[in-house]
């Protein structure tokens, strides 16, 4: 049907641009040809409007109302050129038009005479000036004399003012029209995104500050007040900057080097003279007290150049490189290098860190030898002293930073390193998303509401104290339910939302309050409009974490229905029209995608969708699921599960009855994660509509592993303690692999136990130089 819709529309387009009907009918199926003929017939129907004279009086009323309503604007317009003559000409035009009509001319002339008499009387009585001042249109309109304006402004002789009833009726309509329409706009709403101001001019002794997400404050000296940065600012030596929750800030130096600050990060600028190449040596000295930074340092090799960062665990010095620094609250410091080299010094020990490597330092201890990094995102399948993430084992130490209390089944980001004896150690584990499997969604009609049991679309749903019920839901309402499928197939509702018909599209998210104004707030860089119907918990201030609920109106206006303090995890959900795909933008908001993001097939630009996601610690919005709301299916359950058996079909322990009409796509084997779509029948039985795989290459997750090549045999490469990797056509290799090459490879663990290598990148080829034995002495590199 979709193709025929477009085909018919294409032909209608041709008809509208003047093609003959016969030409347009070519290649059309019979039914669509008949419909096109019908369109041509409808287009011939001449539905003429009444003659203009019937609307003359109304036109005058409209203009008079415009004059009353827009007069303030006219003053502010000043002398700007417009497409029209001035107000005097305009009213003259109206007068000419009206006076040309005989039935009005007599009365108009009579009233003009009356008006002239009144005018002369008032002028004589000295009240003229007083009256003019009462009407603030008069004195400030350029190009019109007071007398002229007075004659214009007192045109009620021909322009019938609106009656109170008419205006009241208009107001009532405006108020009664549901939110989301342009007729209910009581305050000026502000689009959800705002223009980014230009970066300030800087010099070698000044850094530009750009708040990309969240918030940042700058302090001058130890005793100075922390001052909030309003989107952009500058930073000089002696100042320090700190970022808030969900924040991301970029510092740009005069030589082009950049520092990206993550959330809850504190940086001191100790010295700053970022001279460009060819001038004087670049001097950038920073101290990182807490948090995470990424440094992109322009390459410099002149004598005396310094780019140095001091941490509780040591000092990092570079000439030109890409590296990151993490300082945790218990003063673990990790220097990790992406490009170039970094030298880390502490307690008279120097460690050179190369691409793909990192060094861990603890306050009061010497830095560890450089080790190879292993990072990635995947499913947790074991927790304890050793965690299994993405199918790989990671040791946990007392310094491992675990954020978000992840559990088995959840998706996490893991950052760690591989020891010389081949063990993986986790430095940080961050919760990304609770378990996707066993989750279901259902849109249907409420049939029963009980204490702990509801019935929706014939299905019994367990509702407990933790079930979030949003909206005043009654039997017969259409609701959207999300939850988990328990053992045995019991549906536990986690969230039940009333699907109402209020114009606009619903949204909610957890965010950080950055700015507060009368008619809008800035929350996590989203401009959220406020009106008289918005409910806001008293006492909320800048810096608070809040839950925002509301509706997305036209023009990407996000209007708050409620703003309350949050104690929830950082998640978001909103519905909207897909504006772009890759990168994704929905309802004016951009967000990131991951390998594990579930996107229902067939979604394209222009479609209505629901986006669920998680908010990372730096404020980045990552979508976990994008569902189509086009032709919203009723009485359909969608759930994600792991295939236990395909003959018969069992997913997550649920036996599924497959019919000839069931659509099964892709290569599905035992262990494959799949999306199952089920139609609920009136008798409560389930009919499986489709089973299709999600993330065919994702499985338990994927890791980026840095490792040196220790040997090459035929088409196999040996990487330390890893199983040999066979290079075949499925592996994308970037660079020439040699013994001792340091490579970065992406490995994904599938649910059937196999491991897939997707890509290998040669990071660098070490130059082996045979050097004579070092002279006697300690040989450290400090300095």
């Amino acid at each position: 049907m979709q193709d025929l819709d477009s085909l018919l529309q294409d032909k209608i387009d041709l008809l509208e641009v003047g093609e003959s009907l016969d030409t347009c009918l070519m290649d059309l199926p019979e039914q669509e040809a008949n419909l096109l003929k019908l369109v041509a017939t409808i287009r011939k129907v001449d539905f003429s409007a009444p003659e203009g004279s019937e609307f003359t009086e109304q036109r005058s009323q409209v203009l008079n109302y415009a004059q009353q309503t827009l007069k303030g604007k006219q003053i502010s317009n000043g002398g700007r050129d417009t497409a029209f003559p001035n107000l005097l000409d305009q009213v003259r035009s109206i007068l000419d038009r009206l006076l040309s009509r005989r039935e009005l001319a007599f009365g108009a002339v009579a009233l003009l005479v009356m008006f002239a008499c009144v005018f002369l009387f008032l002028a004589t009585a000295g009240l003229m000036g007083w009256m003019i001042n009462q009407d603030n249109q008069v004195a400030e309109v350029p190009g019109i004399s007071t007398a002229e304006f007075e004659s214009i402004d007192k045109q009620p002789i021909v322009i019938t003012p609106l009656t109170t009833e008419q205006i009241a009726a208009t107001e009532a309509v405006a108020q009664a029209t549901p939110a989301g329409s342009p007729t209910d706009v009581a305050v000026e709403y502000v689009p959800v995104t705002r223009a980014t101001p230009a970066l300030p001019e800087i010099d070698p002794k000044t850094a530009a500050v750009q708040v990309m997400q969240g918030s940042a404050q700058i302090q001058t000296g130890d005793e100075g007040e922390w001052v909030t940065v309003n989107q952009v600012g500058t930073l000089v030596a002696g100042q320090r900057i700190r970022t808030g929750k969900f924040s991301k800030v970029i510092l740009t130096f005069y030589d082009g080097s950049e520092v990206h600050l993550g959330a809850n990060t504190v940086i001191f600028v100790d010295e700053l003279d970022a001279q460009p190449t060819g001038k004087a040596p670049r001097i950038v000295k920073l101290t990182q007290r807490l948090g995470e930074t990424e440094h992109i340092v322009t390459s410099r090799d002149e004598k005396g150049a310094r780019y140095k960062i001091t941490t509780p665990g040591g000092i990092g010095t570079v000439q030109g490189t890409k590296f990151s620094v993490l300082v945790t609250e218990d003063l673990l410091t990790r220097f990790a290098v992406t490009e170039g080299e970094l030298e880390v010094n502490n307690l008279n020990k120097a460690v050179v860190v190369k691409p793909g490597q990192s060094t861990i330092t603890i306050a009061g201890q010497k830095p560890s030898e450089a080790v190879f990094q292993i990072n990635g995102e995947g499913e947790v399948s074991q927790i304890g002293l050793a965690w299994i993430i993405s199918g790989q084992s990671f040791q946990i130490t007392k310094h491992t930073n675990i954020v978000g209390d992840p559990q088995v089944g959840d998706l996490v980001r893991v950052e760690g390193y591989t020891t010389f004896d081949g063990k993986n150690v986790a430095v940080r584990i961050l919760l990304l998303q609770h378990a996707l499997t066993n989750q279901f969604t259902l849109t249907g009609e409420v049939e029963e509401i009980g204490g702990g049991l509801w019935k929706v679309s014939g299905q019994e749903l367990v509702v407990n104290d933790e079930t979030s019920i949003e909206g005043d839901i009654e039997i017969g309402d259409t609701v959207y339910v999300s939850g988990v499928i328990l053992t045995g197939g019991t549906l536990l509702a986690e969230r039940i939302i009333l699907v109402d018909e209020t114009p606009g599209l619903a949204f909610f998210f957890v965010g950080l309050v950055q700015e507060i104004y009368d008619n809008y707030w800035v929350i996590s860089d989203r401009v959220i409009s406020i009106d008289g119907n918005s409910t806001i918990t008293p006492g909320i201030a800048v810096g608070d974490l809040v839950v925002v609920r509301g509706r997305i109106l036209e023009d990407d206006i996000w209007l708050a229905r409620s703003i309350t303090l949050s104690s929830n995890e950082a998640t978001f959900e909103f519905t909207g029209i897909v504006q772009t795909i890759d990168p994704w933008t929905v309802s004016g908001i951009s967000f990131e995608m991951r390998d594990w993001t579930i996107v229902e097939p067939g979604i394209e630009a222009g479609d209505l969708v629901r986006v669920n996601g998680t908010i990372l610690s730096d404020g980045t919005w990552v979508a976990t699921r994008i569902s189509s709301l086009e032709n919203l299916p009723l009485h359909v359950i969608v759930f994600v599960g792991i295939v236990n058996s395909t003959a018969p079909w069992v997913v997550n322990g649920l036996p599924l009855v497959i019919s000839d009409d069931t659509i099964i796509t892709g290569e599905i084997t035992v262990g494959t994660p799949v999306i199952v779509t089920i139609q609920l029948m009136e008798d409560g039985t389930w009919v499986v509509l489709s089973i299709r795989p999600i993330h065919p290459l994702f499985g338990f997750g994927c890791l980026s592993v840095n490792a040196p090549v220790t040997g090459i045999t035929g088409n196999q490469i040996i990487l330390g303690n890893w199983a040999p990797i066979t290079l075949d056509d499925d592996v994308d290799v970037d660079g020439e692999i040699k013994v001792n090459s340091v490579i970065l490879f992406h490995v994904c663990g599938l649910h059937d136990g196999t491991v897939v290598i997707i890509q290998i990148i040669v990071i660098y080829q070490p130059v082996i130089i045979i050097v004579p034995p070092p002279p006697k002495g300690n040989g450290n590199h400090n300095g």
């Binding site: 001449d46 609307f55 035009s93």
Partner: protein, 184 residues
């Protein structure tokens, strides 16, 4: 006047130029009246509602921003919402009964021409009564009000693809309705 774009007229009107408001009224009053008239039986009531559309336009003009949505679609949406509210208060739609259509002013200006046209129009309006509300609205906006798919999508707060599908189904339903009426 017609060679001045809506964008310029709206900008001038937003800046307080009443003459620009007049130009917008002159440009859109016939089209808005036609749209309202397809839904409201009484000519005078349709005329009043048309006026209300323009009062609401002025009242909300400052909130209009040209962000890819044509002014015409914005104005039709005001009209659409006004009609919804009107019917909500009246609790019913006011369709043009065949028996009353001959009282229309069309017949006055040129009876010989209008008679044939009016017959088609009456026929069409009666057939439209048999369509779903949303299908009827799409057909009226697309082919009587001459709005583009995108404009209709904006007026009805739907996606372009949804309007395209509704248009297809609506035309099919209209054809069936016309065929059934021809048999009666």
């Amino acid at each position: 006047m017609t060679d001045i774009s809506d964008t310029i007229l709206v900008k001038d009107a937003q800046d307080g130029n009443v003459h620009a408001v007049g130009a917008l009224y002159d440009r859109y009053q016939p089209r808005i009246y036609k749209y309202v008239r397809t839904r409201v039986y009484d000519h005078h009531r349709a005329q009043d509602l048309t006026g209300e559309v323009f009062l609401l336009m002025i009242k909300n003009l400052s909130s209009y921003r040209d962000m890819g949505v044509p002014f015409s679609a914005w104005l039709y949406r005001i009209a659409h919402n006004l009609l919804i509210n009107h019917f909500h208060k009246e609790n019913r739609a006011e369709w043009v009964p065949i028996s009353h259509a001959e009282n229309s002013h069309h017949r006055i200006s040129n009876p010989s021409v209008v008679l044939e046209q009016q017959l088609e129009l009456e026929w069409l309006l009666k057939a439209l009564e048999k369509l779903d509300e949303i299908q009827r609205e799409v057909i009226i906006l697309r082919f009587l009000a001459d709005l583009s798919l995108k404009e209709v999508a904006h007026v009805l707060n739907k996606t372009v693809s949804a309007v395209k599908a509704i248009q297809h189904r609506g035309l099919l339903a209209l054809k069936i309705a016309l065929s059934e009426m021809a048999k009666e």
